[in-house]
């Protein structure tokens, strides 16, 4: 018995108290580089190309032509817009994964105005109505789960998730109602000839308006979250609901107000897609951005300025991977796989920022004879 070997655990995990910001970013950068290497290996295995060629292709896919660059920034702006929308909710620990549905409903409201009022009103009157109805629709869609949460503490992750599909089917319903031509199951380009309800183009660039709107929103959201009383209340509610109540913050009111805002901004994203670029509506117009936005926002630590970079990273990869898919005649879902791999690495690396692995010190064994 006495000779039995004592098994000490090799290491154990300790929570870090503090980590300098540069170290944290170095860890994140290392994770992204590691992810890019893994992605390159996967792509190499599937295409047989050398990794440098692959990255040149990715870059070309993102910035190869002016048009591609514009598309990249358009995608970036819409994804960023939805991410901005969900961020205030996340800051108060309200897991709004219903961005998709809120965006769809906002888009649906815009489309409804274009279709029903397109030949009755001039653009000067129609566009403000579209803006108001999209914002209102998105806000209503966002506030429904918030009301349930405030009143009965209904699980918001699951409620917002259900709201997505209710929105999808609502859109599907109206698509059949308004389909052109009948029986096609599609709406097609709305008001193609009159361009009624099409948001104006700035400088002849189709996407510039969206980009400007979202850039302004980003700054506004940053200020709102960090420098206003509302933003402060949101942080307090997120950190500790008990404390919030204790200092007289009406938690229910904050939840409802914040989700109105969250839904409203998703509504704007829907408006920008339907009125600004696509001029039609489909059930998949959101392209799952409501879900991607969750990751964008989380990866950026809910900071609107960092979100520019995280959403850029995801959009860049997505565009680049689609280019790889086209050039090497792979399936376009290839980009989802690469996105997934990169996400796994970034998600995983947070561990090394929050915790450290400490190895057990050796030696210093006491004599058993003692006592």
């Amino acid at each position: 018995m006495a000779n039995e070997k004592v098994r000490n655990p090799l290491f154990h995990i300790v929570k870090r108290k503090n980590i300098p910001w540069y170290k944290a970013w170095a860890i994140r950068a290392a994770a992204i580089i590691a992810a890019l290497i893994v992605c390159a290996v996967i792509t190499m295995l599937l295409t047989g190309e050398n990794p440098i060629q692959i990255y040149i292709t990715i870059f070309k896919g993102a910035f190869g032509t002016p048009r591609k660059t514009w598309v990249l920034f358009q995608n970036l702006s819409i994804l960023l817009c939805v991410s901005l929308a969900v961020t205030p909710a996340f800051r108060m620990r309200f897991w709004n994964i219903g961005g998709e549905g809120q965006l769809l409903i906002g888009g649906l409201a815009a489309a409804a105005c274009m279709i029903l009022l397109g030949d009755k009103l001039s653009n000067g009157a129609l566009i403000p109505i579209m803006i108001i109805s999209s914002i209102a629709a998105g806000a209503i869609w966002g506030v429904i789960p918030a009301l349930f949460k405030a009143k009965w503490n209904t699980n918001e992750t699951l409620a917002t998730l259900m709201m997505n599909y209710i929105a999808t089917q609502l859109v599907a319903f109206f698509i059949i109602v308004w389909e052109v031509p009948k029986g096609s199951g599609k709406i097609g380009i709305i008001n193609q000839s009159s361009e009624a309800g099409w948001l104006p183009q700035i400088g002849g660039q189709k996407y510039l308006l969206n980009i400007i709107v979202v850039a302004v929103l980003t700054v506004l959201m940053y200020v709102y979250l960090n420098y206003t009383k509302h933003g402060y209340e949101i942080s307090v509610v997120g950190e500790s609901e008990k404390t919030a109540r204790y200092v007289g913050i009406k938690v229910e009111k904050v939840i409802i107000r914040t989700m109105l805002l969250s839904g409203a901004i998703c509504g704007i994203a829907g408006l920008l897609l339907v009125g600004g670029t696509d001029h039609t509506i489909t059930t998949t117009i959101g392209e799952s951005r409501g879900f991607t936005a969750v990751m964008v926002s989380w990866l950026a630590k809910f900071n609107p300025i960092f979100m520019i970079f995280t959403s850029f990273l995801l959009v860049f990869l997505n565009r680049g991977a689609s280019e790889i898919a086209t050039v090497f005649s792979l399936n376009k879902s290839f980009s989802d796989i690469l996105t997934g791999v990169i996400l796994f690495f970034i998600i995983g690396c947070e561990f090394f920022i929050n915790y450290k692995i400490s190895f057990r010190k050796k030696g210093a064994k006491e004599e058993v004879k003692h006592v």
Binding site: I13, V14, K15, W95, I97, F148, W152, N153, T154, N155, T157, L158, A159, L161, M162, M163, N164, Y165, I166, T168, Q169, L170, A172, F173, F174, I175, I176, V177, S288, F291, T292, V294, M295, W298, L299, S329, L330, N331, K332, S333, F334, S335, D336, I337, T339, G340, V341, L343, F344, I347, G348, E350, F351, N354, Y355
Partner: protein, 330 residues
């Protein structure tokens, strides 16, 4: 007149993927892991089965195929594929303590990507005219019915007209329910999901339970994808055809208040709601049918709200759902 005899079997075949998915997710959630990656896991389960079946069909002429392999190879591939997805999820959320919602959504992106990518690539390989891949030989084995089922009229149609995986789903659901409710392992699993700190103090290995439940749950959910392709879709894989069934499975978990045995009738109800639009009088507007498809989600939302209103302890989500556990947290 509403044609029940043809409605019920169609509702049942719709329900089976949902039942697998929700049963797997219930098991997962009981350990405190909210795996929003289930849609991705089910896609992966499906496509891995397809790959297995495809390789076996390529290797062996249809006439020489053996039932054991025709079923076993896709089955094993499917289980392996969804197991890997479950392991990725666990590694990130349990070992690395990452945020469950974000990880789950990443798994879904990844899994659907895997499904569509390999699906698309196989379609290209077969140089088929249509954007799908047909594995009719394998389907034959999966869809095999009892030989006398057809002679039993409406009874046979309602109860005996399904492939073996449909019955397996129901059996798995009941076994899962039994394990959760009645056994020592189930008791410990519930404790982990409710209060991991307590479970840990009681000497239960929290990480092992989380890994175990999530991985087995993923494998069960993955079978839903396999059933969908091999039986329901007659061995035809086409991209995105699986649709949003994964999310519906998560809805079903809430609807059944975390009870897989309730999942059996509930999934059939969901399956029925899912296809109800096909059975409403044809004179009705096509658009209204789209609204019918909303029903499962709407019903789930209502149930979710109602259970939270009643606030009964037994019908709440596991208390530690969505939270990662770190023992030395102070």
């Amino acid at each position: 007149m509403f044609d029940l005899v043809s409605f019920i079997p169609r509702a049942v075949v719709q329900s089976i993927p949902l039942l697998y998915g929700s049963c797997g997710e219930t098991l997962t959630e009981k350990s405190g892991n909210l795996n929003l990656g289930i849609p991705g896991v089910m896609y992966t389960g499906g496509i891995c089965g397809v790959i297995g079946a495809f390789l076996y069909e390529q290797a062996v002429p249809a006439a020489e195929m053996k039932a054991v392999f025709a079923i076993g190879v896709p089955l094993l591939c499917s289980l392996l594929g969804s197991l890997i997805m479950g392991l990725i999820y666990c590694f990130l959320t349990v070992t690395l303590r990452a945020n469950q919602n974000v990880t789950g959504l990443a798994i879904t992106t990844f899994g659907i990507g895997i499904g569509n990518f390999f699906g698309g690539s196989l379609i290209k390989l077969t140089k088929s005219e249509v954007p799908s891949i047909a594995l009719s030989a394998t389907h034959k084995y999966f869809a095999a019915q009892l030989p006398f089922a057809k002679d039993l009229g409406w009874f046979g149609k309602i109860f005996l007209s399904y492939g073996f995986m449909a019955y397996a789903a129901i059996i798995i659901a009941f076994i899962t329910a039994y394990i959760i409710k009645k056994t020592r392992v189930g008791l410990e699993l519930r404790a982990v999901g409710e209060n991991p700190k307590t479970a840990d103090a009681a000497g239960i290995n929290v990480s092992r339970y989380k890994y175990g439940a999530t991985c087995i749950g993923s494998m069960i959910a993955g079978l839903g994808g396999l059933y969908y392709v091999m039986d329901y879709a007659c061995g035809v894989w086409s991209n995105d055809a699986f649709g949003d069934r994964g999310w519906l499975a998560i809805a079903l978990v809430i609807f059944t208040v975390w009870r897989p045995n309730v999942g059996v009738p509930a999934s059939i109800l969901f399956g029925g709601l899912y296809i109800l639009y096909l059975f409403i009088p044809t004179g009705m507007l096509l658009s209204v049918k789209e609204l019918y498809k909303m029903l499962p989600y709407l019903v789930t939302l209502i149930v979710l709200v109602l259970t939270s209103m009643r606030n009964k302890r037994e019908s709440q989500p596991p208390e530690a759902l969505g939270l990662s556990y770190f023992r030395e947290e102070r």
